[in-house]
């Protein structure tokens, strides 16, 4: 009984998500006029890197990368904390 309720809820969520996937902008024709045209056109001049992705990762969105590095650091500290050898 409960299982079927969960399945029903799952199906509703599935419907919503698939609808979202189907009603996106068409694959291959994204919105190009805002940030990305700027990045592709200007990153070589502004950041002097050939790789636009790296320019974004480390310059335009460097703060995200700081967050990413923090996540990794946090996870390593967490793993060290969890798998530490206990003295007791």
């Amino acid at each position: 009984m409960r299982r079927w309720a969960v399945v029903a809820a799952f199906l509703i969520v599935a419907g919503g998500l698939l609808l979202g996937g189907a009603r996106m902008r068409p694959f291959g024709a994204p919105r190009y006029d805002l940030m990305d045209r700027y990045f592709n056109a200007r990153s070589q001049a502004e950041v002097a890197t050939n790789n636009v992705v790296t320019a974004i990762v480390f310059d335009y969105r460097g703060y995200d990368t700081l967050g990413e590095a923090t996540v990794l650091f946090t996870a390593v500290v967490g793993v060290a904390l969890i798998l530490r050898r206990l003295k007791r």
């Binding site: 070589q44 001049a45 502004e46 950041v47 002097a48 890197t49 050939n50 790789n51 992705v53 790296t54 320019a55 990762v57 480390f58 310059d59 460097g62 703060y63 990368t65 700081l66 990413e68 590095a69 923090t70 990794l72 650091f73 996870a75 390593v76 793993v79 060290a80 798998l83």
Partner: protein, 149 residues
């Protein structure tokens, strides 16, 4: 593992590390960057662990965690470098000094000496990822027993 695997691991370890270094070094020119190169280099730790057993990586735990801390500190300090204007401002790009050459516009083979702080950040993140993922591998490998054949 058998002698074959160990020998091949001996040959491949420096190759993987050099390749990781290459990926980090050319992060602003070819696909790759700090994280990818660090992950590639950390795979060398995984290879070390699997080929030579947990005993071989026992001593690496402390160096890796220190490496990771240093990488993180270096990354934040590189962010602080631009604090004269804004945090994460790319102070070195186009300034003419180290990593300050301007990139030629348009398709080109790529010049290594470009990118401003981006290559430096690549290296900081690369060492950080190498240290962090290596430490994770070592911690997982060493957890629960020291038995090594």
């Amino acid at each position: 593992m058998s002698v074959v695997v160990k020998t091949i691991a001996r040959i491949l370890l420096p190759v993987i590390l050099v390749f990781g270094g290459y990926v980090i070094l050319h992060g602003h020119l070819t696909p790759g960057g700090g994280f990818q190169g660090g992950a590639v280099a950390a795979s060398a730790v995984a290879l070390l662990l699997v080929a030579f057993g947990p005993g071989s990586v026992k001593k690496l735990k402390a160096p890796f965690s220190i490496l990771e801390d240093l990488g993180g500190v270096a990354f934040v300090l590189l962010g602080f470098l631009g604090i004269g204007t804004t945090f994460f401002f790319n102070l070195l790009a186009g300034s003419g000094g180290l990593f300050g050459a301007a990139a030629p516009i348009g398709p080109n083979p790529g010049v290594l000496n470009t990118g401003g702080t981006v290559p430096l950040m690549n290296w900081a993140v690369g060492f950080k990822v190498l240290g962090g993922l290596g430490a994770v591998m070592v911690l997982f490998g060493l957890f629960g027993g020291d038995d090594d054949r």
